[in-house]
């Protein structure tokens, strides 16, 4: 009975793993299969020979090459601005207790609850009026700060003992120095988790760039891929899946090297080992 139970759960788990991984496998397989094998009858699990020309077509024709560059600039630009705005605010909300900071914390938590879809249209109008539509500024600036970032980093800074802060103050360190020398190093895991989350969220963002980037040169990776699919290129699945690999791979790599921070950024909690 016990054996049977183990066998059943083991099989279920194995099946779940296969279903989770299969689309990734199929994406990779198609991206390196020669075009004439793409539509072959019957299921071919492994291509008979490898053909990487799909990557070239995705990079050149599909515009993924320039999109990757835009994506990197946009993602890192947003991250830099967010860290600059969120870390000082998180410090104050964690370590300075006044009526103003209590109110500010309430505003941050309130902002967390506002879904981005609700602010979408006014933001779009505002960005248009500011003359920033179809520009890098329009892609980056609306995300210059993040309520989630403030909240996550603050949670980490709250756990720094007040005694440590008091001792630093007694040593004559001002707020700025306490922030840079004590709070930032001690909150490093939370800052890392938020950075992973932010890079992940903005590299993958689709709806906002779809509204802002009207010219092809300003397309971000997801946007370029979607445009490539909707363009009339017939059904060049090797090139399309190659494009999908190019968009997906950086984030999968990020996940693999920073899995713990990734989980922390997604769930707000840490998992052991």
């Amino acid at each position: 009975m016990r054996m049977l139970f183990r066998l059943a759960t083991g099989t279920a788990l194995a099946l779940a793993v296969v279903i989770s991984v299969f689309p990734f496998y199929w994406m990779l397989r198609t991206s390196v299969a020669p075009a004439d094998e793409t539509f072959a009858r019957g299921i071919s699990w492994v291509p008979t020979r490898f053909d990487f020309s799909g990557y070239e077509r995705a990079w050149e024709t599909g515009g993924l090459g320039s999109a990757v560059l835009v994506g990197v600039v946009q993602t890192l630009g947003i991250l830099a601005l967010q860290l600059l705005t969120c870390i000082p605010a998180a410090y104050v909300l964690a370590k300075v207790r006044t009526r103003t900071t209590a109110l500010a914390l309430a505003v941050v938590i309130g902002s967390l609850l506002v879904p981005s879809q609700v602010t979408l249209i006014p933001l779009f109008i505002g960005v248009n009026l500011a003359g920033l539509s179809n520009s890098l500024g329009g892609l980056i600036l609306p995300f210059a700060t993040s309520a989630f970032g403030i909240y996550l980093i603050r949670q980490q800074m709250v756990s720094i003992p007040d005694a440590v802060m008091e001792a630093a103050r007694a040593d004559g360190l001002g707020h700025t120095q306490r922030l840079v020398r004590i709070a930032v190093p001690m909150a490093a895991p939370g800052i890392a988790a938020f950075s992973v989350f932010s890079v992940f969220a903005h590299w993958n963002e689709y709806l906002w760039p779809l509204l802002i980037a009207r010219s092809a040169e300003l397309r971000t990776p997801p946007l370029a891929l979607a445009a490539f699919q909707q363009a009339d290129i017939g059904f060049d699945y090797p090139a399309l899946t190659a494009g999908a690999v190019l968009v997906t791979a950086p984030m999968v790599v990020l996940f693999l090297i920073a899995q713990r921070r990734f989980v922390q950024g997604m769930s707000g909690t840490e998992i052991p080992g």
Partner: protein
């Protein structure tokens, strides 16, 4: 006598307030003011190019709700949510529990099961479009093994919504699994051991011990699953563009179409605001979990 301390007090107060300013400006400009404007705009006719807004009262809501395409989108969103929320939660919890019991394979299994959550949604939509393409996609090759003729999965109004919902479950179950996994990890081992010593096992233990213990986690996972389902956009916009015949049109794809294809920003704001009503209800739930986490 005036000593320096009141002055010093004030400078000490001003420095931290300055640190709040950049984030404060950001949140005000990009979250708070737009949220208020979204509310206001839903009662106005809003010209895209700027210029005067014309007050139309509840006209936007009436016009939007009378539109059969919008009614269809609301219904589709309900069906999509019904098809994705509960399966994602049940699968996510089951996979988290199974992975926890997987012994030495646990780290590898966990990493592989997290993968769907790391994928770019547009890329995944492209891959699934290929898997479900007609007539030569993998799904049709697979049913062909059982002698079933090819199905036009994404081209048939009867199958398109279930197929995009399937992609939704594939993705969301991975996310809820991660949340449950993190929640289970915080469960004190002592309680588990006590339950074991009392002879409480299997489904009874799940029901009596595990679920009550991870209740905040379960609420959080539910909130995320609801948010993901109600706001589905990327996958549908790439896989079906809301078609065929509006059969996969959802609230958010409709907001996008009304606002940025028909340039009816007042109408789109009104529809987004209706979405907000649902999200606020969910947000109340989320706020309770967040408050629980602040402690």
């Amino acid at each position: 006598m005036r000593d320096a301390s009141p002055h010093r007090m004030r400078t000490r107060e001003i420095a931290p307030m300055l640190m709040l300013v950049p984030a404060g400006i950001g949140l005000a400009l990009f979250v708070v003011v737009p949220a208020i404007l979204a509310f206001v705009a839903s009662f106005f006719e809003v010209p895209l190019a700027g210029g005067d807004w014309r007050f139309v009262g509840t006209g936007n809501f009436e016009r939007i709700l009378a539109d059969p395409a919008v009614q269809r989108a609301l219904l589709n969103t309900l069906v999509y949510s019904a098809l994705t929320i509960v399966p994602s939660l049940v699968l996510g919890l089951a996979l988290a529990l199974l992975t926890n019991a997987a012994g030495r394979a646990k780290p590898v299994v966990r990493t592989l099961l997290f993968l769907p959550m790391t994928a770019n949604l547009v890329a995944i939509a492209v891959v699934y479009s290929w898997i479900f393409s007609y007539p030569g996609g993998f799904a049709n090759q697979l049913v062909g093994v059982f002698g079933i003729p090819p199905v036009n999965w994404l081209g048939d109004p009867a199958t398109a919504l279930p197929v995009v919902a399937l992609v939704g479950v594939w993705r969301t179950a991975s996310l809820t699994m991660l949340i449950f996994f993190a929640g289970l990890a915080t469960m004190p081992v002592a309680i588990d051991e006590a339950a074991r010593a009392e002879g409480i096992r299997g489904l009874r233990r799940l029901w009596l011990i595990t679920l009550p213990m991870i209740r905040p986690t379960a609420v959080f996972a539910t909130v995320l699953a609801i948010l993901n389902s109600v706001q589905v956009f990327d996958v549908i916009n790439v896989m079906t563009q809301g078609g065929p015949l509006g059969s996969t049109e959802t609230v958010l794809t409709m907001v996008w179409r009304i606002g940025f294809r028909y340039f009816d920003l007042g109408g789109a704001s009104a529809l987004a605001l209706l979405l907000l009503v649902v999200l606020v209800a969910v947000g109340v739930l989320q706020r309770r979990t967040l408050a629980g986490r602040t402690r």
